[in-house]
C-alpha cells in the first residue's frame, strides 16, 4: 500500500539564475532537488535588449519553468534569434531543444516596457503562441511570470501557477511577521508584524483577504485582514480558544475551531463574524478543517477514535456527531488539505518520530509518502494541484519547501535569517 519516496540525489541543479538575477528584492532563495524523468527540453533565448533593463525577463521565466520540475533548460550560447524568421531550426534540433522561446523588450520613453514573446515547437517548426504586452518597468517580474504561465500551459496542458502568491509566517528573534510573496519568493511584503505568535494563514478564494490566528491578546483569536486596505476584523473572538480558520469555496463563510462549548470543535461563521453555527459534535478534538472544492464536505483531524486521524463529513448546515474515518495507517495523521480537483488530500503522517508529507486518494484510499525529512508541517496544494507547499526544518531552522504531487521534484525556499513556517498557497489570479 505504501509507496516510499525515491532517494533524491544530491542537489542536481545549482541555480546560476538565482545568482545572476537581481538580488535586490530577494526574500527567499530556492534550491531544487531531483527532477522528473520526462522533462521538456526548452531553450529560452535572452530577449532583445533586455540586458539594458533593471530587471531581465527571461531569467525569471527560466527560473519559474525549472522550479516546476517539468522543464530542462537547453543552452542557448551563440544563438540569438529574436524573430521567428531568424530561427535556424537545425541548430536547435542539434542541441536537443523541444521548445524555443524568443522575444524582445523595448524600453519606451514613458518608462513602460513593450514585451513581445513567441513560443516555437522545434520539431514541427511551428509557432505555438505569440503575444505582446506593455507594462510599467516595475512590473517586469509579473510580466515574466505570465509568460512562464503561458509556456507552461501550452506545453503541459495544465494551468500555470507562477503568477500566484504565497503567505507564510516568519519568526525573527521575538518578532512574528505574516508575509505575502510571489510564488517564487520574491516581492515579500509584510501583512502584519507582532511580538506575539501568528499561525494558520488562510487565503480567501478571491485572494483579497487572509484569515489567520493571532495570540496578541493572551489567547488565540481569528482575524480576517483585507490585503489592499490593511483593515482587519476579529471574526472569531469567543470565550476560550479560536483557531484553524479556512474559507468556504464561495468565500461567504469560514470554518473555525472553537473551544466555546467545550473541547475543540468545528464551527461555521460568516466572513463578517456573524451567524455562528456548530458543525461537529464529538467528545474529542476536532480541528484543522479543509473544504472540498465544491464546498459540500469538510475533512478534518479528530482524535475521536483514540489517535489523531483524518475524517470526512458533509457540510449540511446541521451539527453532526458522525464522520467517516479516512486514514488508518499509523497513529498520527493530521493537517489534511483537499486537492483542487477534490480527488485526494495531502496531510502529515507520523512514522517512527518523522513527520512527513503524504497524499491519499479518496477513491482508492491509496497513500503515497512524498518526503523523507524529519519535521514537515502544514502542507497545502498549489491551485493547479501539481505542487504541495509545506514547512520543514533544516539545521534546526524552519524553511519552506515544495514537492511535486508525484513526489519526483522537491525545492527548498529559505530566507537568509529567521524561521519560516505555516505556508499557504494562494489562489489563481482572477483575470488571466
Amino acid at each position: 500500500m505504501w509507496i516510499h519516496p525515491r532517494r533524491f540525489p544530491q542537489a542536481l541543479a545549482l541555480l546560476f539564475w538565482l545568482i545572476s538575477s537581481s538580488p535586490l528584492q530577494a526574500a527567499l532563495d530556492i534550491e531544487i532537488f531531483g527532477g522528473g524523468a520526462t522533462q521538456i527540453p526548452i531553450a529560452i533565448v535572452p530577449f532583445a535588449t533586455e540586458e539594458k533593463l533593471a530587471q531581465g525577463v527571461t531569467p525569471v521565466v527560466a527560473a519559474d519553468l525549472q522550479r516546476s520540475g517539468l522543464f530542462r533548460l537547453v543552452d542557448t550560447t551563440g544563438l540569438t534569434p529574436h524573430e521567428p524568421t531568424q530561427v535556424s531550426y537545425p541548430d536547435w534540433i542539434g542541441r536537443g531543444a523541444g521548445a524555443l522561446v524568443i522575444g524582445s523588450t523595448v524600453a519606451l520613453p514613458d518608462g513602460q516596457v513593450a514585451i513581445r514573446v513567441t513560443l516555437l515547437d522545434v520539431a514541427r517548426q511551428a509557432r505555438l503562441a505569440s503575444y505582446s504586452e506593455t507594462v510599467p518597468a516595475g512590473q517586469l517580474r509579473a510580466a515574466a511570470h505570465r509568460i512562464a504561465d503561458m509556456i507552461y500551459e501550452k506545453l503541459t496542458g495544465d494551468v500555470g501557477v507562477f503568477s500566484t502568491r504565497i503567505a507564510y509566517i516568519v519568526k525573527q528573534g521575538k518578532k512574528y511577521a505574516l508575509q505575502v510573496a510571489d510564488a517564487d519568493g520574491f516581492n515579500a511584503q509584510p501583512v502584519i508584524e507582532y511580538t506575539e505568535p501568528i499561525i494558520s494563514p488562510s487565503w480567501s478564494p478571491d485572494g483579497t483577504q487572509l484569515a489567520y490566528v493571532s495570540f496578541e491578546n493572551k489567547k488565540p483569536v481569528v482575524y480576517v485582514q483585507t490585503l489592499a486596505t490593511r483593515t482587519r476584523k476579529a471574526v472569531a473572538n469567543f470565550r476560550g480558544s479560536n483557531s484553524a480558520p479556512v474559507w468556504s469555496p464561495d468565500g461567504k463563510k469560514l470554518a473555525v475551531v472553537l473551544s466555546l462549548m467545550g473541547g475543540s470543535q468545528i464551527f461555521l461563521v460568516n466572513s463578517d463574524g456573524g451567524g455562528l453555527q456548530r458543525l461537529t459534535q464529538s467528545p474529542g478534538i476536532d480541528t484543522e478543517p479543509s473544504f472540498s472544492p465544491d464546498g459540500k464536505h469538510i475533512i478534518f483531524t479528530s482524535d475521536r477514535g483514540g489517535t489523531p486521524q483524518i475524517y470526512r463529513m458533509p457540510v449540511s448546515g446541521q451539527t453532526s456527531r458522525t464522520a467517516e474515518r479516512l486514514t488508518f495507517e499509523g497513529s498520527y495523521n493530521v493537517s489534511p488539505h483537499y486537492s483542487p480537483d477534490g480527488k485526494r488530500f495531502t496531510f502529515i503522517h507520523r512514522s517512527g518520530g518523522r513527520f512527513n508529507v503524504a497524499i491519499q486518494d479518496l477513491a482508492t484510499s491509496q497513500v503515497q509518502l512524498l518526503t523523507d525529512s524529519q519535521f514537515d508541517e502544514s502542507p497545502s496544494y498549489a491551485p493547479n494541484g501539481k505542487m504541495i507547499l509545506y514547512a520543514t526544518e533544516v539545521g534546526g531552522r524552519g524553511i519552506l519547501s515544495a514537492v511535486s504531487s508525484d513526489g519526483r521534484t522537491r525545492q527548498q525556499l529559505s530566507t537568509q535569517t529567521g524561521d519560516v513556517r505555516e505556508p499557504a498557497w494562494g489562489p489563481l489570479p482572477k483575470l488571466r
Partner: protein, 172 residues
C-alpha cells in the same frame, strides 16, 4: 500604541515570572503594578503578611502557577492537586476574581492539533477547579499550543517544561 502595550505587558509578565522563581526585595514594588483588584481579602490560609498579595507571595502556594503534564496526556497529576485546590478555593472565596488558564504543549507535530491538545490541558485544570468550588464563569480556559514555549530547547527536558498549563489572574 497597541504594540507598546504588548511590550509593556510582556515586560510585566516577565517581571511576574521572575518573582515566582527568584523572590527578591523588589517583589513588593513590582506587584503594585500587577496586583489584581480583588486581592484585598487575603483569605487564603497561608498568607504570611497582610501587606503581601497572596497570589504573588512566594511563600504562598497560590504563587505557584504551573501544572505539568505527561507526554500526550491531559490528566492532572496528584502532585498538583493541592495547588489546583488552593486556587479553586481562592476563586470560591473571591467571587470577583477571574483566571485565565493557558494550556501549552511541546513543539512536536501539527501546530493546530497541539493548540487543541493544550486546550485539553487547560480544560482539565478548569474541570478540577470547578470540582473544588470555583465557579465556571470565573475561569476561561484557552490554549497557546506550542506557540509560547517557556523552554526553547529541542530535547526532552525542554519538551517536559512546555507540557504545562499556567494559571493567570485577571490583571496580571
Amino acid at each position: 500604541m497597541k504594540k507598546f502595550l504588548g511590550v509593556l505587558l510582556i515586560s510585566l509578565l516577565s517581571a511576574c515570572a521572575s518573582q515566582t522563581t527568584k523572590p527578591s526585595a523588589e517583589v513588593e514594588d513590582k506587584s503594585v503594578g500587577t496586583a489584581p483588584a480583588e486581592s484585598g481579602g487575603g483569605s487564603a490560609g497561608t498568607t504570611t503578611s497582610p501587606s503581601l498579595n497572596p497570589l504573588t507571595d512566594p511563600n504562598n502556594i497560590l504563587s505557584r502557577r504551573s501544572v505539568y503534564f505527561d507526554f500526550d496526556s491531559y490528566v492532572v497529576k496528584d502532585e498538583y492537586r493541592s495547588l489546583v485546590v488552593a486556587h479553586a478555593q481562592y476563586l470560591r472565596d473571591n467571587s470577583n476574581a477571574r483566571v485565565l488558564l493557558q494550556g501549552n504543549t511541546d513543539e512536536r507535530g501539527s501546530r493546530e492539533y497541539n493548540l487543541a491538545l493544550g486546550q485539553r490541558r487547560a480544560d482539565a485544570v478548569k474541570h478540577a477547579m470547578t470540582l473544588s468550588g470555583a465557579r465556571e464563569t470565573q475561569i476561561e480556559s484557552v490554549s497557546l499550543g506550542e506557540e509560547k514555549p517557556r523552554a526553547t530547547g529541542h530535547d526532552e527536558s525542554s519538551w517536559a517544561e512546555n507540557r504545562r498549563a499556567d494559571i493567570r489572574y485577571q490583571g496580571e
